[in-house]
Symmetry: C2
Amino acid sequence: MTNETIETMLNHRSIRFFKEETLSDEQIATIVRAAQSASTSSFIQAYSIIGVKDPEKKALLSEYAGNQPYVLKNGHFMIFCADLHRHVLAAEMEDKSAEEILHSLESTEKFIVSVIDASLAAQNAAVAAESMGLGICYIGGIRNELAKVIDLLGCPSHVLPLFGLAIGIPEHTSDLKPRLPYENIYHEESYQPDDDIMKKQLAEYNQIISDYYNSRTAGKRQDRWTQQMVSMLSKRSRMTMDQIVRQQQLMKDERQ
Amino acid sequence: MTNETIETMLNHRSIRFFKEETLSDEQIATIVRAAQSASTSSFIQAYSIIGVKDPEKKALLSEYAGNQPYVLKNGHFMIFCADLHRHVLAAEMEDKSAEEILHSLESTEKFIVSVIDASLAAQNAAVAAESMGLGICYIGGIRNELAKVIDLLGCPSHVLPLFGLAIGIPEHTSDLKPRLPYENIYHEESYQPDDDIMKKQLAEYNQIISDYYNSRTAGKRQDRWTQQMVSMLSKRSRMTMDQIVRQQQLMKDERQ
C-alpha cells in the first residue's frame, strides 16, 4: 500500500549539504502555496513565513544557529513564525479595542494553536520541496539566539520565530535513520500503561541505533538512543524561552 | 510546476462526514509510518499517537469535543500527543536520577519542541491519508475538556494530548476555502514592517471571504475574515490550558 506521496515521506532524510543554486521564485511560490494549504485551527492561520535570500543576513542567522554552514549555503532559507499580530490588526479594522481580544490572544491556548499552525504549514512546505526533488533540513538552532533573530527579522509583538527550513538541491544523500519502534509511538485505545513494555521497546531500539552507528563508523560510534537523549537533556539549553515568548506578548497567563 | 504530492496538498479541505467503513490495519500502519518519517528535533521524537476504535470511548471524545459527530463517525480516530514520558524512562535505563534531566525536560523550550514534533508527524499522517483518497479533519475541540481526555486516555506525566485527527472515506466533498493572501503570509528578508500594507491585504481578503460565503449561502452569510477572528478572540476559551500543561509536568519554568 503505497504511492508517490507516501514514498516521498518515507524517504525523508535531513540534507545538510546543498548545491549553490538558488530556488526560482516559481519554486518558492509552489512551496509557500503548499504550506498555506495545510489545515489551520478555526481558520485562524496564525503563522507567517519569512524567506531570507540576503547573504549577510543568512550569515548572521547561521552564526546564531551555532555556525551551521547549511543555514548560509542552500537554495533558499525560510523561517516559520507563530504569528497572532495580524489578528490585532483585525481588531483595529473592526473598530474593537485591543483589550477586547488580548486576554484570549495572549493565552497559552492561542500560543499552542499558533505553534501547531506554523508546524503544519512547515511540514507541507518540507514535503512539497522533497516531492520536487529538493532536500530540506529543519533548523531549531535559531532558538539558540532567539532574541537576536527576532531583532534581525524585525518581528513585532505577537510574532515568534520557531525554526528555520533550509531548502536546496542535495549535494549528497544520507542514510535513513531508524525511528522509534512502531508500538512505542502508536498506542491503541489508551496510552501504554506498562512502563516495562515501553522500556523493553526502547532497549530493542537502542540495539538498532547502536548497530546503525557501528556499521557507519567502522565501530567508532555505538551510542544508544537512550544515552543520546539523557546526554542532551542533562544540559540546560534555551532556558530563557519562557521569558522571550512573554516578551513577544504571547502566553502571558497569570500563574496561580 | 506541480506533481501528485503537491496536487494532494493543494486540494486539501476538511472532511466532516465519513462513510461508516473502518480503515484496515494496513492503512493505519501506512499512515503511522508516514507520520514517523517526519523530521524531529535532535532525533528526540517527542510525541505519541493514540488510535481509538472503541465506539464508547469515541462517543465520549465526541462529547468532550463539543458534540462533533465526525469524532464518532469516521474510519479511524487518532489523538496526537506531545510526549516526553519515554525520555524519563530513558534516564532510568541509563541509571540517571530524574533530577538530572527534569529541569531541561520540563522547560518551555522542550514543550515547544514536543508540540512541533507532534504537529510535523500529524501533518505527514494527514497528507498520507489524503494521498490514499481518504479525507481528514483535525479536531482541536478535544482541548475543550482536556483534563477529561487526559484521564480517559490514561496519559501519564509529561504527556499532553494536543488534537485529534478524524480519518475516513469522504461522504461528501466541500469547497476549497481561500487562504490569506500570499504576501500576507510570506514576507521577504524581514517581517513586513508596514501595518497599513498588511491591513490593505486583509481588506482584500475580507472581500474574497465575503464573496465566498455570499455565493454559497445565497446571500445569507457574508462574514469578513477579520470579523470572524475578532468574534472568536473576544470569547475567552480554554483559559485553563496553562494550568493543565503544568499539571502534566510540562513547561514548569519559574517565572520572574
